[in-house]
Structures are given as C-alpha cells and as structure tokens.
Symmetry: D2
Subunit: 338 residues, 4 copies
C-alpha cells in the first residue's frame, strides 16, 4: 500500500503518520518525492482495514496494491485448473460447449433440444429449473419438476447437466440432480449462497455480476474455494455500460485478465452478453478466438414460443452451423472442439 | 408495445406480423409512417414474453411501454406510504435519520455511539451484525451476538433498530431482534430473500443494487409487496459509473423519480453513496433538499479504529453539526427534523 | 508511483527493475512486503511515461500517485478563485444563477425570458447561438444573429451573458459578444479549443464531459489555465451510467471533490443533469445544499414550442418559485442569493 | 413514436393530446390498452422536437422509434461500402490491418517499425503527429514534422497512411499528407471538425467516443456523409464501464450491430480497447472472429522507450505472430489476410 501525503505536509506530520501506521502493526517506508512525500506500507495480511489510514491528518489518498484473493490466484497455483465432469472437461485443450434453452419449459422441449445439441457436439446441457426473473409475475421456472426433466436428459443423451441454484434452501436439491451448479449474475455476491456452494460436492459455474469488477468476481470465487470446493468455472456474461444497443457489453478482455491472474477456467455467455440472436454467432466465435475455455449458449427449437429470453436463443440449425465454424477455427489457436 | 418494422417491409409482411401477434392473444394496430410502418400492440397483461415478436421476419425492433410493477406504483395507490415504527416514521413530514456504525463491533462501541446519535436527534439506529464483505477473510460481523447488542441499544435509548439480513436462513432471527429488516445492495435481486422478507412482519429497507435501474429497484420492491408486506422503504446508495473519484455516484434524481412513479418512501445513504467522510456532509444536506424522506448514515466515535468502512464514517460531533444544519433547512421545503 | 512486483519475482529481478527505473532518471525504493515486493518510485516530474515500467519483466502492476494538474490545484493556490463578471461573481458567497433558454430561437423569445429571469433575481443569462446537436438535421442555432440578440439582452436588462463556442473558428466571434465563453460537454477534451479559450480574455465555463472523470475535467481546465486564462468555472452536468431513468446522473459529489482539490468554482446544470423538468427543481435545491457555487438552468416561457430540450426547461413561474426557496435555504449554509 | 398516457388519463385528456399532436403537424393513432392508452404518432420527418409532447398534461412518457440517421443506414444503401485507398481496401473480403506506433517520435523509429509491419503484411501505417493528450504537459506530437515522416514512410514502403486531425485549423494540412484522416474518440462529437472532414477528399476513420452509444457514432458519421464524403470507416475502440481492470471494455458486439444497421465498414482498435499488451493479441483475434473489417493496432520496436501508450504497444515480433494466426483463421469466416 502507498500512502500519499498532502503536498504541504510537514516532516513532523509525515513522522506522525508513520508512527500511527506502526501502531496498527504495519511497517512504514517514507519516500520523499519531487512534489510530495509518499509512505510505502508493508506487513498488512488483510486484517487491518486500510481505510483507517485515510482518517489521519495530512493523508491525501491511499493506493492499495492487491486484491486479497489467494486460493484463486495463479500465484498460488501456477498450473491451469481443469474441471472434469463426466466425459466433459472445462479448462483443458477441449473447448467446452454448454447449450440448451433458457428455461426448462416441459419434457418435450428439453428432449427435442437436447437431442439436437448433442448431435452437434455439445457435451453439456443447460436449462433453468429455478429462474430469477425481474418481475414476480413472470414465469419462475418449473422447480423440482424441471430438475427431473434435466436428469432424464442426462440419462437419455449422456449429457452433463448445468442448472442454476437460486438460494441456500434449494441448493442441496439442485446439487442432487445436476452435475454443475450455476450461481447466477444476480447472486454473485450472495455470500451465503457462495459458501454453501463451496460445501457442495459439485463443480460451480459462477457468473460475473452485472457490473462486477473482475477482482470482485475472483473474490466471489475465493468464497467458494475457501470452503473447500476447488472446481470453480467463471463465466463472463456482459457488463452494463452507458451503451444502449445491447443488454450488456460482453467483456472479452476478461478472458486474458483472468487467465493471467487466476488458474480457474473462464467461459463466455454470448446469449446474455448480447441479448440478441444476430450477435450470438459472431460473439461466440470471438469468445473462442479470445481464448475462452467454453461457451454457455441458449438454443431453442421454437424461439417464437419460448417462455423466456426469446430474442437471444438461436435455433438448433444455427447452433450446428456455429459448431462447424468453431471446429475449424479451434485448431488455429491450439484447441479442439468435440 | 410498439413493433417497429424494417423500412422495406412489404404490406404482406406487415400483415403476417399482425397475424402472428394476434395468434399470441394480443391485438395489433398497424400504423403507416413516413419512413416505415409500426404496429401498436395492446392486450398484453405481462404473460406473453414480448421478445417473441422480435423473432418474426421483418421486425426491426420493439419498444416496450411499461414496467410491470403494480403494487408499488403510484397509479395503484396515489397517496404516500408512511412507514411507522415505534416513535419514528418514514415517508411523512418528519425527515427520518438512521445513524450508527457500519458494523456492530462490541457493546461499548454501540452504546457510546447510540447515546450520541440519540442526543443529536436520530430516532433510528443502524449497525450491521451480519456483514456482506467482498473478501471472505474480512471481518464478517458478530452475528446473533451483534443482534443482542442492538436489542440492548433499543432498550436503553428507545431507538428503533435497523440491521441487515443476508440470507433466508437467518432472516427470521434478524427479524426477531430488529425493527426494520435491511436488504443490502448486493441482495437487491436475491428474489428468495425478497420473498421471505415479504412474509416477515417487519418493515423492509431495500437498498438499490450497485448498478440497478430504478425500474429494477421498484420490481424488487414489488417482490416484497406481492408477498403481503406493504412497509417497504427504498434507499438510494449510489450507482457505479465510469467516474473514479468516488466509490459510487449518489443518484439523487432517483428521489423525484420514485416520488413520481411510486408511493413508497425513499431515503439516501450518503456514506456508501460517496465513500468519503468529506462528502457525506454536503450530500446529506443535498438529499434533504432533493426531497428524500430520510438518511442512512454511518457514525463512528473512533473512525481510525473502525473494523469496516473507516473512510466514510463521520464523528458524532460532525453528525451533531449536520443535524443542526438540516434542522434549519428542513422547514424551507416543509419538512421537520426531530 | 508504486511498482508492484509479481509475487515470485526473485531479488535479482527486483534489482534489475530498480536499475531500469534509475536509467529512466527516476529513483527506486524497493520495499519487501509479506506477499510481494513493491518499489516506490520518486523523481518523476511528468516527463517520463510511467507505462514504460509496465513493460519490464517481473512487474505486475503500477499504481500512480497523482494527476499532474498544477495550476488548477488547491495545493498550488489555497484560496478560492472568485470569477467576477459585471455585477455578478461566481465562487464567492453569492450563489450564481445562470438562466435562460437552451437555444436562442428569436428576439422575442429571448427578451421575454430574460425579463422574467432577471425579475426573479438571475444575474446571468444563458442561451445557445451555436448548438452542438446529435443529428445534422436538427436545428443548429442562429449563429451570429443569435449572438446579436444576446448582446441586446445584456443591453436591455443588464444581464451578464454566457453562450457556447463550438470551435476554434468561431471562438473569437463568440468571445466578442459574450461575457463568459462556454465550452460544452462534447468538447471538454477538444484541446485545440481549450487552448484557444485559454488565450481569450473572457472567463470560461467548462462543462464536464459525458463520462469524464474529475481528474480529466481538472486537466481540461489546466489546458485553459496553462495558456494564461485564470478565470475558469467548472460545471457538473451529469454523467452517463447504466441507469436509464434519466439522461444522465447528476454527480453532486463532484462538488466537494473539486472544492477539496481545486480552487476553481464549480456550478451544476440540473437541466442537462436530469433531462426532466420534474427533477430540475429538487436537484437545483440539492446543488445549492451540496455546496455548488451556482446553477446553469434552462427556462422557457413556452416549453411546448421550444426548438430544443423541450422536456427539461422549466417555466418562468417555476423558476421564480425555485429562486424563492433557494433564497431561504442559502443562509443556512452561509450563502446568499440575489 | 409512441406516446404513453398516464393510467388514469380520461378519454377527454387523450383526445386533447391527440389534438395537440395534430397541431404540431403530426398524425395521432390512439390505442386503448389493458392498463393505459397509448398514442401512435406518425408523420414526423425529424423537424419536430418530440420532447414537446412530454410537456402535455396526461402524458407519462414517449418512446422514440428511430435514430434519424439516413445516409449511413443500410436501409438507405443495402450493399456494403468498401473504402479503397491505394492498394488497400476496408470493408471488402480482405481484412484491413493498420499498424504502427502511437506517436510519430522520430524518423528512425517510424522507418524501423514501418519496415517490419509491412514485412508482416500490414498495408496501412498508423502514427500520430498531432496527439490529443489528457495533460497539457505531456508530449503533444511532432506536428507537421511528423506528417513529413509519415509521407516518407509511404514513399519508402508503399504503405497507406492514417493519422489524426485534431482541429479544423490543421485538418487541411493533415489531409494533404495522409491517405486516411482519423478523427479521434475525444472529437467524435466535435461537429465542426466532422463537417470539415466531410468536405475533405480523403476517407475518414471515425473512432467511437469513450462512452458514445452506437446511434451517436452513426449520427457522427452522418455529419461526415451529409457533407458529401462517402468514405467513412468506423472504429470500435472500447467504452468506459464500471469495470476497472482495463482502460476500457472493447465492445465487439458493436460489429454485428453496425453491420446490421449500416453499410459502413467497422474496424476494431484492441490497443486502446484494452490498454494492455497481453490482451491485444487475443482481442485482435476476437475482432476478426466477430466480423470486424480490420484492426488499428499499436506496434513499437522499443515499447519501454515509447513516448506514449507504452503499456499497450506490441513488438514487431508479436505482431508478426499475430498476423500468422489471423491469416490461418480468416478463411474459416470467408475472409483473407494479405
């Protein structure tokens, strides 16, 4: 940490601040600059709220060095984490594709879509049984009935299942049906849910909050890992910006950032990340090209009858076309597609 | 809803879209414009996912009319909601001041601060027993022990208590101790928590999410009200922006917006809204002047030793000064301060 | 500046980075921390692009201490700058109110509005003769004809005039008519225009860019001051955010920030800052309460016929009511209103 | 346009609003809905400020249909615009790569870099002679001397030149040396500059403003085209967001959006779009995969001595590697790379 003093801070004032810093159990390294004095601070293991220093007279600002994530950091674990579930894996050479409808609407819908996405090469099937909806009057998902349908999909097509758990009360139930537990964007900082997911014995797919920084995303993953669950998959799904042409801006630069500072795999969700069918295809290819470890993508056989997210689901035919293109593109950056 | 057609859409295409809209159970009103045709759509009570229309050929865009909030809207209930708790009320003529530390740290700290803020005129005491922290390694609050201290504060000083419930598992416990249940910004779209709070018999203080739109805030309040709890207090606490001089930008224009479209009271949190002690005082005055119904404000007697949010807590002396100024200012806009 | 090393950087690597820093003409102060080494850097007077250090092996990140603004900083000039023009002043005890239409539409419109705002106590008249419009097909202003009308307003009512200069080609002409030259939000980083305004002999009203940080705003003012013009008035006019209920979010915390770090006066523009008549009144009061030095506010006698910004102009009657309320409020925070 | 009435608006009020709309020369189409009445409005060719309608009693909100861009729209010109300059073209099958240093620092630097990027296949050379810098004390570019160096680069290596014009005063001079005139992000809404560029006889590279919406970007291009210059190339270069890991968020979804609604070519600038060398490579590949028509990319042979943007320039060796990868990737999506 670096404490920046006011320009006109006297040597006495600097000395007093150094003293106070030492009283907090930290070490102070004053450095005189051309315009002002700064004080380097070492020895903080995260227990001292550094904001306190801001309350001292003569202090103009403080610059913090590092996010305090540990377990998720690449410095802690240099090699890539590869999450393996059934015959799928996320974070290795194979690009992981998770496809399916936004919501589990009924058995026929799921079986129809699952058959098609499996035929196109997807190994993981997505579908929401519990749906977080902005309005309490919108379709809220089929609940456990939906989970049963998902289990049937696994049975029938050998697909790995990923579905969302919305609260601590139903997390165990969800985990008992699914292969991967998804934590949605709205719950990225629902710490009670993160802790409970950290104690589940299933991998966790953690979506970035709607305007979360990447440090916050990694800290959320740290909550899961700190409870003992090492199988965390991150997911970039777009952030809010002042731009209004899209629900969100899919921030693909998150991919190289996460790859540099963390060993965890990261996938992209171009469906929520763009909110628009036309943009799902190009952004899917872009996610692969940017180095993402996989995709979470909405596919619906009858988008015009979908109960949710109708505008962003692509058809099974488009999905097949996309898979073909990505299969050709992958080897160029040393990846494979099933 | 207005369906905007592509400029070159033929009359046949327009007719086909109208037909499809009618098949969805809605009514279509085509209107030929100078540049393109638009189709007004009526009859949607919120059950049809309007995104479906975007999937039809020839459709360029759709414009949605209204957020589907009902119970929270002023159209539903024209008169202001006034939430009364003990000898305090929020939403009436009296400006409601909720003051206290960020975290309940120990008994002495709370009693010391509570005595001072009560003496300055605050009727409501704030303090977190369960703390949502970005890092799992930061102080997480005293839990039930903290709630007991808060209960003692109420006992001793006659203050109304407000404290946060972080999850569905502890909400009942929190509600059994506190007078007002706070739902934090990170949980604004934790719908399971909102629903449970909607079944509690205590008023709910609902904080705006870090980049939530006001429609999303009102829809979150709708979740609470739809479960039968009519005592919801909204709280503006700053939104993220590209500006970096402040943790957040306190969006005081939220106050007149909410007042216009909803009957619910809305207060402001200048502590989180600015993140900086120096700005808490002017923004508190500004919140009053903008028409807010009250303040949620962090006060600490020893900010330099606070366990959380040290940079934004003001001293009891500054708080007293602030109350004096606001007491003089209030009558000008027809409000009172205790 | 603080250079943050990778956690696993060897002492040799740290030494090499220190050496490179010294080669750049700067001084390196290595500090070993619990988790990693950091290197304090002093001696940079702004001539070395600190980004270069990021290119050195073993460097994880750099933290920059200070914006390089000098002339605008309070450290450079501790006392408040008061800009005096005619019988008006901005930055002193008197709250400065600049009122008038968005655009100068014709002589009658200006004289009508000017008479009314003068009667309500405004000393400064605003009105655009050159209008920056998003569409090339929208009304672009009357140009010099508009400036002549503004000059007549000054003549007739003794009002001080403020109007926008859009480019270097017309700045001299604008400056020859007006008392204060406005630089609009879209041009905040039009450095050629800023430099030319810095050589004009009229005060400059500099509006914050639509998503400019305050450091960028102050650096833009530095451009003007560096050319010799010391009379700069800053203006907060709202920043973009993810929130969609308002054109912009009026960031009143900019006021105490600027007051702390700069000696320049800062006013608020609640008309553009909210985009909605209903919110102009409460936010105007809030700006005063937050400590702003004045207001820039749109008033139109026939909003339903305005050629631009019809939704945000208030009527002369509402303006009069607002002035009355603010006149009562001002003394509480030790200000006066004419 | 759709006018949304208050829920409790009486039939008389609706009738009055319709009447007023007709007085404005527009046509009103009232539609009674389940919750409220809406009024479709047709006949506005952009001359009427639709905000006026908001001032009528009983009106809750208005929804606007279309941005008024015309010349830039695909509806106006269905086929893709291909800008051809020398032996390069932008917008056709060949992916256009513009590479070079941020600033023209001296002759040697430019010749060295130019030789290398040309050898790797770039046909267009970038380099700033006039530099818009946040601080007036930073290196401001070599001016005309820099333009001469760029002309020598063209001479020597047959490269097409693109460089920025910062103001109306120097635009003609810049245009006389360069092949493509760049308008920078800070000047995207400098309408005087846009108009002048519209009268130049060189193609214009228009960069998206730092938080501009795509409609605003297209309207800025409309300013150029409205003056007669049809050769406009758009450039996505990142937008501000609340996320702090990156200078900006490169918004690749802008590419399919622009492709859908406009005929103009759009390229991406991953250097400014990420601000970090490590992310330039993956985001360059992603831009190609997303369907962009080219890249604007910073290359420097000695990044650690660069006078500006040192952190984001890649080395000529990395550039060569990137070109190789992209050359393999391009055919998959039916493009070529030189």
């Amino acid at each position: 940490m670096l404490v920046v003093m006011e320009r006109n801070a006297t040597p006495e004032l600097v000395a007093r601040v150094c003293e106070e810093i030492q009283k907090m159990g930290l070490k102070a390294h004053p450095m005189e600059g051309t315009q002002r004095t700064a004080i380097g601070v070492t020895g903080n293991d995260g227990q001292v709220d550094s904001d306190r220093i801001l309350t001292l007279k003569g202090v103009r600002d403080i610059l913090r060095i590092t996010p305090s994530y540990k377990l998720v950091s690449r410095e802690h674990k240099p090699e890539d984490t590869i999450v393996t579930v059934g015959n799928a894996s996320i974070g290795g050479r194979e690009f992981a594709v998770m496809a399916g409808p936004c919501s589990v609407e009924n058995r026929d819908q799921c079986l129809t879509i699952a058959e098609k996405v499996a035929a196109s090469g997807a190994k993981i099937f997505r579908g929401g049984a519990f749906k977080p909806r902005t309005s309490p009057y919108s379709f809220q998902g089929l609940g456990e009935k939906g989970l049963e349908i998902l289990a049937e999909v696994r049975e029938k097509f050998g697909l790995v299942i990923v579905t969302e758990a919305m609260d601590t009360e139903t997390l165990d139930m969800v985990a008992s049906y699914t292969d991967i537990v998804q934590i949605g964007a709205r719950n990225m900082q629902n710490y009670s849910l993160l802790k409970k997911a950290g104690r589940a014995d299933k991998p966790v797919l953690l979506k970035r909050g709607i305007s979360a920084t990447l440090d916050e995303l990694l800290m959320a993953a740290e909550y899961v890992m700190a409870e003992g669950n090492e199988n965390v998959i991150l997911c970039e799904r777009g952030v809010r910006s002042a731009s209004n042409h899209s629900h969100n801006v899919l921030d693909l630069s998150a991919v190289p950032f996460v790859k540099k500072y963390s060993h965890l795999p990261i996938i992209a969700d171009p469906s929520h990340g763009t909110g628009s069918r036309d943009r799902v295809m190009p952004l899917s290819r872009a996610a692969l090209a940017a180095g993402a470890d996989g995709l979470l993508i909405e596919v619906h056989h009858e988008p015009s009858k979908a109960l949710s997210d109708a505008a962003q689901a692509i058809s099974p035919e488009d999905f097949e076309g996309l898979m073909k293109v990505m299969r050709q593109m992958a080897p160029v950056i040393d990846r494979t597609l099933p």
